[in-house]
Symmetry: C2
Subunit: 129 residues, 2 copies
DNA sequence: AGGTAAATAATAAAAATTATCCTTTAGAAA
DNA sequence: TTTCTAAAGGATAATTTTTATTATTTACCT
């Protein structure tokens, strides 16, 4: 992935991507805590720079969540997100928004090429408690 | 609105709400620039505190937009947003997401009570240029 | 009108992000 | 392999954004 975008393959970058793969979604501060376990001397500036590079070339996506901090994920097929108000967990879900987007396009005259949908509620586990 | 939520009615707060009514959506920094025209000595801290108060009691909503800063709007009936990648304009659109959300709920087991959808593309005006 | 809790302004402090600058390193080329 | 160089990392300073503190002012209830 890195090589495809002319980014040098460094251990730090591999570490960041590895954590993103494992966790699915993670905030900057969580990521910094994790990566420090493997690279105890990594600089916060390096982390920010790399996140930004990878966002620019679309290796990563930022997920903006109502009432909480952004999380980052490795780019994959288009999907939406679900966030649990109780346990704060963030999960992917693949939905078909074609009809809705088509309708929005007709109604507004916009031509859309991206969408970001976050559904907030309570996850199945937290519903029991 | 303010009185209903036990917030005192101050000229600064009325000024903020008035700008929000006029602009529809506005970022903190834009709002600060605007409000300074009417209240040249208003403190940035006052602005942040009031925005946060009004968010807490749901007089306002924060709209988180991919690749740009959040904007704020006066709460109204549920709706989605459209952002133009060329002119950066943000607009409301009312869409029916019931089907999609119902489907998401069945598929995931979540129970949802809120949704945030932002569609990104090009507005009709910018399509001409 | 007077009293009081809440709001404002000014400012400091904290948190988040970006810039700078010097050292190190990945990866191309010899 | 070794060498060379542009790019990346680390340390830290500087910005930017947001929140906290405190003294003064004001909305609004009697």
């Amino acid at each position: 992935m890195l090589r495809e975008h002319n980014l040098k393959v460094t251990p730090q970058r591999l570490g960041i991507l590895s954590i993103l793969e494992d966790t699915g979604h993670i905030s900057i501060e969580e990521l910094f805590t994790f990566i420090r376990k493997d690279f105890s001397s990594i600089s916060i500036a390096t982390l920010y720079k790399n996140i930004n590079f990878m966002l620019e070339v679309n290796i990563l996506k930022e997920v903006k969540i109502p009432n909480s901090k952004s999380k980052y994920e490795i780019s994959k097929d288009e999907h939406s997100h679900m966030v649990c108000r109780k346990c704060q967990k963030l999960e992917d879900i693949t939905l078909c928004l074609d009809g809705v987007i088509e309708h929005a396009s007709e109604k507004s005259g916009y031509s859309f090429d991206e969408n970001a949908l976050v559904l907030s509620g309570v996850c199945p586990q937290c519903q029991l408690a």
